[in-house]
Amino acid sequence: MFKNRLRNKKLSQQLCANRERFYKLAYAWTRDAMLADDLVQEAMQKAFVSFNSLKDETKLKAWTCRIMLNCYHDWLRRKKDTMDIDDFELVADSSPDRYMTAQDSSQMIRHCIACLNEKYRNVITMIDIMEFSYQEASDALDIPIGTVMSRLCRARNQLRDLVEKYNNQIFPVNPQYIRRVK
């Protein structure tokens, strides 16, 4: 029992050390600071009480990410009436015109990432924000490494296209990016 407590303490310390990254990841998904905080808090709480179910300590971050993703999906289900999670896409919270005038490239990039298909967004944010290896992303998303690679590839290609379009002052009005209300 004492060993277990030591292990749990070590794991919780590791998680806390990565808290900032988890927050960035959550922010990337939700685009809301308070929601991101709640998501991280909830995920870490759940992780803390479930350490015994983590068999491989090296997969701590991926495991916690998975928890956070599930929490996020739960939040989406609670919030929305519709729902296939896969169908759902975040609506851009500001119009293209604002980006043109503000020239806030970071905000623009975040917006473009938000416009990506959720599957692609998950992969690109895990690789680039969490700095996951492909294996870790595969564990967190419960998909094969090959799928991680192909989705990342598509995500970056799409992101590049979107950024290019923004830079050329063209924003595609694509029905797939508008929330569907059933």
Binding site: V49, S50, N52, S53
Partner: protein, 139 residues
């Protein structure tokens, strides 16, 4: 959460036994039917040892006496110390029950401080008590 459930379950299982143990009276019916001189002494020794052996445990002990063994409760025929011990046991909650038929038929003299219950159907009473879970003991 699973770990908490395990601990709570353990506590629950332990707690189930505690009230069961605490609440349970130790019930004993001590039957005297012999008339030897040392019968009452043996009985008192047994009962005192029983109480000593289970300190703090609530006990319901009934001393049932039939036939000529009731004579053992005659103060003129008994050692004073022994009678004092029996009275002390009665004060501590021991119930003394005697066969009414034997008591009246033989006009037996009983120590006035003792207030035994007179039992009409003695064997019926023994059966009734055993059916109620009383353990049966004799000297």
């Amino acid at each position: 959460m699973v770990k908490l459930h395990k601990y709570l379950l353990l506590v629950f299982l332990c707690l189930v036994n505690i009230p069961a143990a605490l609440a349970a009276n130790e019930k004993v019916v001590y039957h005297i039917h012999q008339t030897q001189a040392d019968t009452l002494k043996r009985a008192i020794n047994n009962i005192e040892n029983l109480k000593k052996g289970m300190p703090g445990k609530p006990m319901d002990i009934r001393l049932l006496m039939q036939g000529n063994s009731i004579q053992l409760l005659n103060p003129s025929l008994q050692d004073k110390n022994l009678m004092a011990r029996l009275l002390k046991l009665q004060d501590s909650g021991i119930h003394i029950e005697v066969s009414e038929k034997n008591y009246r038929h033989n006009r037996l003299q009983i120590e006035s401080s003792l207030k035994p219950l007179l039992v009409e159907n003695f064997f019926g009473r023994l059966i009734e008590l055993q059916n109620q879970g009383y353990r049966y003991l004799t000297p």
